[in-house]
């Protein structure tokens, strides 16, 4: 999807400026034009994988999650 898929369930507009009140209609979906094509998705994945590869091969980069960051912060 090219935007937040649940936007129209909880807001009156796609930009999410005005929240709706409950009960929320869970059938409200984004128009089909917001769907990405297979080609677009594949291209994004290719670029993403290129990044992961590059980061994993760079000796100056350490890939961490908040779990490891917390350990480093606690040791500091």
């Amino acid at each position: 999807m090219k935007d937040t898929p649940w936007a129209l369930i909880y807001y009156t507009d796609i930009k999410k400026t005005t929240p709706k009140s409950p009960p929320y209609d869970l059938t409200q979906k984004l128009p089909p034009s917001f769907q990405r094509s297979e080609n677009e998705i594949n291209d994004i994945w290719l670029r993403y994988e290129e990044l992961v590869k590059k980061a994993s091969e760079d000796p100056n980069i350490e890939i961490v999650t908040s779990k490891e960051l917390i350990e480093k912060l606690e040791k500091k």
Binding site: T4, R47, L73
Partner: protein, 293 residues
């Protein structure tokens, strides 16, 4: 004889002075060289030479909250995990408790994938209609501190009804994720415009094991390494690979995030930290919302 001795003393003094001046000049040259900007070619070696510490800590962040397209969302997690396993790295998935419950019910294999601590850490975040989220706070307005704490604790231990915004008589929230994972999701994105609500929500999650929060505000989610708020660490980040100078996410342009990473790193090494000796820790957070999962 006396004249010869005086000449020898003068010669030795000049010789020693010359050596001393030479050392000072060389030393000065070295320190000046360390301050000069480094070239692309010199950079990798210089970094290794001057600092044994890691230059960049990088986190791959994926926000997961698309309960509307559950199958597609599950596919994105599968694909991301394939990539992380292929390159033997780890990603961090920020899930709403709704997503956790929905995967558990419909795609239990996703729960098993996310439990792979070698390649994934599961963290927590909040989206509508959770009452902490701005614009959805009507159920907790006007409550005193104790009442607020009690009701928010219910939300973090019970399932959220997506249609009414109420909590249900069924286990859910942060507590369920912690129980299933076997560890407390370490970090949480709590977005609210009301400090008393964030403070109370953080208090509850902290009691359950939360250690870190993500900054939300005018300055985006950037924070220094070691910064704290509400007694918790703020997720450190010097930059994000997310949007370009026009505010467009990289996946909505033809830009390569690998190039954006190189640009950002060189900005930090050459401008923010002109001498490599000063570089200790940089943290990068990458957000990816391929199909708003």
């Amino acid at each position: 004889m006396k004249l010869k001795f005086v000449s020898l003393v003068i010669f030795l003094t000049i010789f020693v002075l010359a050596i001393a001046i030479g050392i000072v000049v060389i030393k000065g040259y070295i320190s000046q060289k360390q301050l000069l900007p480094i070239t692309e070619k010199e950079k990798p070696m210089a970094i290794k030479k001057e600092s044994e510490e890691t230059l960049v800590y990088l986190t791959f962040v994926i926000n997961v909250h698309d309960f509307v397209n559950l199958t597609e969302s599950a596919d994105v997690i599968k694909k991301a995990m394939e990539v992380y396993k292929k390159y033997n790295v780890k990603g961090e998935f920020y899930l709403t408790s709704t997503m956790w419950e929905k995967y558990k019910e419909n795609y239990p294999e996703i729960i098993e994938l996310l439990k792979d601590e070698k390649h994934a850490t599961v963290s927590y975040h909040i989206r509508p209609p959770h009452p902490v989220y701005p614009g959805f706070t009507s159920k907790i307005e006007g409550l005193n501190k104790e009442e607020l704490k009690e009701i928010l604790r219910k939300y973090e231990t019970h399932s959220l009804n997506l249609e009414t915004g109420n909590y249900e008589n069924k286990e859910g929230g942060y507590a369920l994720m912690k129980k299933d994972l076997g560890y407390a999701p370490p970090s949480a994105g709590i977005f609210s415009d009301k400090p008393e609500i964030v403070e109370t929500e953080v208090e509850i999650l902290k009691e359950m094991g939360l250690s870190m929060i993500v900054r939300h505000g005018d300055g985006g989610s950037l924070a220094d390494f070691g910064e704290k708020k509400y007694g918790l660490w703020i997720r450190p980040a010097d930059f994000e690979i997310l949007e370009d100078e026009n505010g467009k996410a990289w996946w909505n342009t033809d830009k390569k995030p690998a190039d954006l990473l190189s640009e950002k790193i060189s900005y930090f090494t050459e401008k923010k930290y002109p001498t490599l000796l000063r570089v200790n820790i940089l943290v990068l957070v990458l957000s990816m919302k391929i199909i708003s999962i």
